[in-house]
Symmetry: C2
Subunit: 237 residues, 2 copies
């Protein structure tokens, strides 16, 4: 395992990102239209070749920077590494896929070959990118349930109704605002800001504003089902 690289054939390595955002109340992915063969003209995930001295995360950040302002990414995590030898028709190429998230209040400037597409209604994608997008969506859905990952989809401040719409778009089904508030408050994921949103155009009671306590990913430990013996997590306080 200590031999120099030259003794072993090495595959090309690219990084790809599934960048998701709730736009117009719908979960959308950032795609880019290929200018060259193979798959010329097809939509595909942003990314590119790994450069020397870059970690995979450096690499995907660098490539994404050509499409969007990377500082607007609220979350980035590795999804999986794909290695089917036939996944690229031209070369032996591995791909490490990342999941990136953008808060819903951001509208990044995009180059002409890049645009958002509804995840529920994707065009045919290049390579195996279609399945990668779905893997990213599944990861998002799962983590919304048992982590505080919602922070990565939401603006700094929001009402419960607004947050409900974000969750509903990402999860793909209706979400009860009552439940959402109770669950996230009990888990101490959300906290009230004390302020209120001015009421909307159709009137109605103005909603209180909340924020996520932290923008670091935290796992709700309640999900360790076969718990260690002892008292529960959050005493009645």
């Amino acid at each position: 395992m200590s031999e120099p690289t030259t003794r072993h054939p090495t595959p090309a390595h690219v990084t790809l990102a599934v960048v998701l955002q709730v736009r117009d109340g719908v979960l959308q992915a950032l795609l880019w239209q290929r200018a060259r063969e193979p798959f010329k003209g097809r939509w595909s995930l942003p990314g590119g070749y790994l450069a020397e001295r870059d970690t995979l995360e450096d690499s995907i950040r660098r490539h994404l920077a050509e499409k969007v302002d990377v500082r607007e990414l609220s979350h980035l995590e590795q999804l999986e590494t794909l290695s089917d030898p036939t996944r690229s028709p031209r070369e032996w190429q591995l791909a490490t896929a990342y999941l990136g998230l953008v808060p819903s209040d951001i509208d990044p400037e995009l180059p002409g070959d890049t645009d958002w597409h509804r995840v529920d209604d994707l065009p045919p994608l290049a390579f195996d990118h279609g399945s990668i997008v779905l893997a990213g969506r599944e990861r998002l859905r799962a983590k919304l349930s048992y982590t505080n990952l919602g922070f990565a989809l939401a603006p700094d401040e929001f009402t419960i109704s607004e947050l409900r719409d974000l969750y509903a778009a990402a999860l793909g089904h209706d979400v009860s605002a009552t439940n959402l508030q109770r669950v996230l408050l009990r888990r101490e994921v959300l906290e009230p800001t004390g302020r209120q949103r001015a009421s909307g155009p159709t009137g109605g009671r103005p909603g209180s504003l909340f924020r996520f306590r932290t923008s670091e990913l935290e796992i709700t430990d309640q999900f360790a089902v076969l718990r260690p013996p002892g008292p529960a997590r959050l005493p009645v306080a």
Copy 2:
């Protein structure tokens, strides 16, 4: 993204596996003692370079076959790909780590340089292998809670007490046999075989034997916390 490999420098790529088994009531990992520099003499994870036309999973299976009978692996899944440019002192090397599991009733033949080590009491490991082992253990612990992954730690048939000991060893804390049985039966993960184990050397009531319904990984959907509207999963029947 369509250029031939030669236009881009490519890193060496190795696959590694954290192979875990409950042995002597304790979670242990399969390690191998390096014969050469770097890290000569240190314990490290089994694995090796990726060969052409191999997927990553092919690769790790092939390398593991040199250490154990791969047919005895009850589960194998990708963990993560490590890319710190300094993770290997000699070359630019990426590593894709896998988690492998072996049922507790198996005692594979091992080559002389290979042995089991308690995960709670590991020697210093080569490269970043120490953190990889811990990542593997964390993945196992999480999935034991919300999937049927226990099948990969257990023999074909077992009593609840035996299964409890396996869970306790993997989870690192006591587990209630009553709870374990109720939870896994309700989830329809376990089923009774109808048979019984002869009672042990110290006497006592003989335990009924159970088996896992399937050896395919299944996720308990109960863990989608913000559920879609509608009735619960398993009606009283």
